[in-house]
Subunit: 446 residues, 2 copies
């Protein structure tokens, strides 16, 4: 690859910042990657972020494109479906897709280190302890604070990949005609743990995402390589029950015993975890335009979403892949690329943002609903019979990286309307296998 003349500055060496830096270095650009924190590879990760994430197709494809597919796969634990836990401890398993399809539990820190290492291998200069304080969009200048000292850098292109509370976006927000919203849901979350057993083994089925759906709230658990599970309680801040209402550790203990009895027994460090780990909020961020002169914001910086579709990181990685694709298409004409990227990608970011909010209701409530489970069963059957014609919404989003989020949402709405009709069939719970599946699929084409 021929060395290109433009110098690129990426702000934020998190998952998305590191990946976009690799893509651009591989295209032949000189890339500087500026990170506010110290080097996590030397001194361990800071807190405040979720410990593991669900990597799925939209995230795996870009990793493969930059040559990290195999390395990433070594770090994951595949989760083939949801394992629902009732109040009485009864288990129901629901596959996410076909037998060969799974989402993958992966350590955020581990993946971030893999990406940073690869970035450096490709010639990216990572500058740690660089806190971006201002950007001059007209002259593409970046201002940094390094432990109190001030530094100014210039670049031809600036990419803000500095997360949901992006400084770069914050500066854009002060310019005229910048649309922006940040909306917090009424739930927060707290990370807890199910440690491995005495022999270092998993205490629950390893290849599943465990859910304790409880109507207005839920507990989930994702497996880690060390035999533990990281649990997350998604719970209202106020009301009854809520974080506010659980005042003492005794309240916490009682609540878990009554509500998640099977989990409580396995959560041997519950009370310490509950006390030590922060209660964090959940925000949806939307913004537009994503481009100011030669500065672009991507990933959480431009479109942070709630975690309920497991698509935050995946959509950010997809941003990088699409950006790279458009650079191909327009032969590295950045002016056109930045416009085309943000015009097309905004629609998809909005779609996954809405889908993620909707999926919270599904996860915490509907997955325990008899009608909902039957719907899923019928849709799985439709998919089995007509694999290319009826792809359930979850599968389109999670396993079909060729379908845009916005397209998936559109088709999903059509499917929902059809399934609403189907579910009105008399005695549907008994007779669903007798449905005329072909005519159902045909309705999609109307």
């Amino acid at each position: 690859m021929k060395q290109k003349k433009e110098k690129i500055a990426v702000v934020g060496a998190g998952l998305v910042g590191s990946l976009v830096a690799i893509y651009l270095a591989k295209r032949g650009y000189g890339v500087d990657l500026y990170e506010r924190r110290h080097d996590m590879r030397r001194s361990g990760a800071e807190g405040g972020r979720s410990i593991n994430l669900a990597l799925s197709n939209r995230g795996l494809l870009p990793l493969s494109e930059v040559g990290l597919g195999e390395a990433a796969k070594k770090m994951v634990i595949p989760m083939r479906g949801r394992m629902m836990h009732s109040e009485k401890g009864a288990l129901t398993f629901q596959a996410y897709g076909r037998e060969d399809q799974a989402i993958n539990s992966i350590s955020r820190g581990g993946l971030n280190e893999l990406l940073m290492n690869e970035a450096e291998k490709n010639g990216v200069n990572i500058h740690f302890n660089h806190r971006c304080t201002d950007i001059d969009f007209d002259n593409s200048k970046l201002f940094f604070d390094i432990d109190g000292a001030q530094k100014t850098e210039t670049a031809d292109i600036i990419i803000g990949a500095d997360g949901a509370f992006s400084v770069v976006r914050g500066i854009m927000q002060k310019t005229d005609r910048f649309n922006f919203s940040q909306h917090y849901i009424e739930h927060g979350y707290k990370e807890l743990s199910i440690p491995p057993d005495a022999d270092g083994n998993f205490k629950l089925e390893k290849n599943a995402l465990h859910i304790w759906p409880r109507g207005n709230y839920m507990l989930i658990a994702l497996p880690n390589l060390d035999g533990s599970f990281t649990c997350t309680l998604f719970f209202p801040f106020e009301g009854d029950p809520s974080f506010e209402k659980l005042r003492t550790l005794q309240d916490v203990d009682q609540f878990f015993k009554a509500t998640f009895p099977d989990a409580r027994e396995l959560m041997t460090t519950l009370l310490e975890d509950y006390q030590q780990n922060p209660t964090s909020s959940l925000v949806t961020v939307k913004s537009y335009p994503w481009v100011k002169n030669k500065t672009l914001i991507i990933g959480d910086a431009s479109h942070a979403i709630v975690p309920f579709y497991g698509q935050g990181m995946n959509s950010g990685f997809e941003d990088c892949r699409i950006l790279n694709q458009i650079l191909d298409q327009y032969s590295d004409d950045w002016k056109t690329t930045l416009q085309v990227f943000s015009n097309t990608r905004k629609i998809d970011a909005d779609a996954i943002s809405d889908l993620a909010l909707q999926n919270f209701v599904e996860m915490r409530d509907l997955v325990a609903d008899k009608d909902f489970l039957l719907r899923k069963k019928i849709e799985a059957k439709l998919h089995e019979l007509f694999p290319d014609r009826w792809i359930p919404l979850y599968s389109m989003v999670t396993f079909n990286e060729g379908i845009r989020y916005s397209e998936a949402m559109k088709i999903g709405k059509k499917q929902q309307a059809i399934m609403d009709q189907v579910m009105k069939t008399p005695d549907i719970h008994q007779k669903w296998e007798l449905l005329d599946f072909r005519s159902i699929v045909d309705m999609l084409e109307v």
Copy 2:
């Protein structure tokens, strides 16, 4: 009034900041009012804000409550209705309400000076050139920059009334779980002028708000005491036609001649005005919560709206009146007052925000529509026959300060559904006077 112990800091000595300072001084509080700009009474107003505004009942009532009703009325020119100008210069007048009802054109600068003077008379200390840079919500501390020097102040209660681009709100936005949105419409505006004639007289009907509705855009004109009109062109930033498309003054001249021929003749300073005056954007700001510990944001700082219902200032003044009312109700218990105020008032702020966006379509497009004009005529008749039972939406918002914005919007939706039905009556344009008006009004109570 007994002197109260709490010290109050108000940030922003604009219209709302000055008024709330008066209210609180009259309650016996020590009030400090901090203003970023210099004293406009000494050195003239800065640009960038609209020159005149439409003061209506919701704004007049609070002014009367603080004893400024008569003084304000001396500064206004009543506008009893809309005067629509067609492309061919044909005029159509549409009354806003009953004969005794009008909205009032008033100078922003003049009214602001009146309020500042009154604030000082009531013992408010106004501190100019004080740019608020930070607030410590936990300790109710304010940080200012005064021509480069730093100053810290404390207060028991802080009120941020510092406008659509509020610094106080900006600081709140960085705290956890603060919901916020800023949304720009695709239109901007530019202020222009129709100077008085050689004898100093108005060149157009004085007691009207003039509108040149042109579908996707419009020109409006409000009278000033000096015989001039301030015109505002509300126009798309991009597209055809748009600000972007009018590249030369010749383009501007041709466009005005073709589109607003009768106005063009009167706008003798059009080309200078067009060149000198900025093109400004139009933003809707929503936020919540409005309270952080003992700091409250009010007026545009918490809910900036587009100007198409003429309610920006009026809703801000109403904020002050409601705040004062709740202080009465809870005997100056600030903790309760701040909660009750923002809980109840947020709903009304959202309502007028949406109504203002909707009214743009009405003003720029529908007022030139035959069906729309008939609707208005029928509604006026309903109001005449049943003055307490059918109050048109515009009147509820503009002339009925006893009806909350949210209530007006709710009733307005009901009225619209009823009128949609009424307009389906065969030959309605010929036979509308034969309608059974009582049965129409009865439908409201269903």
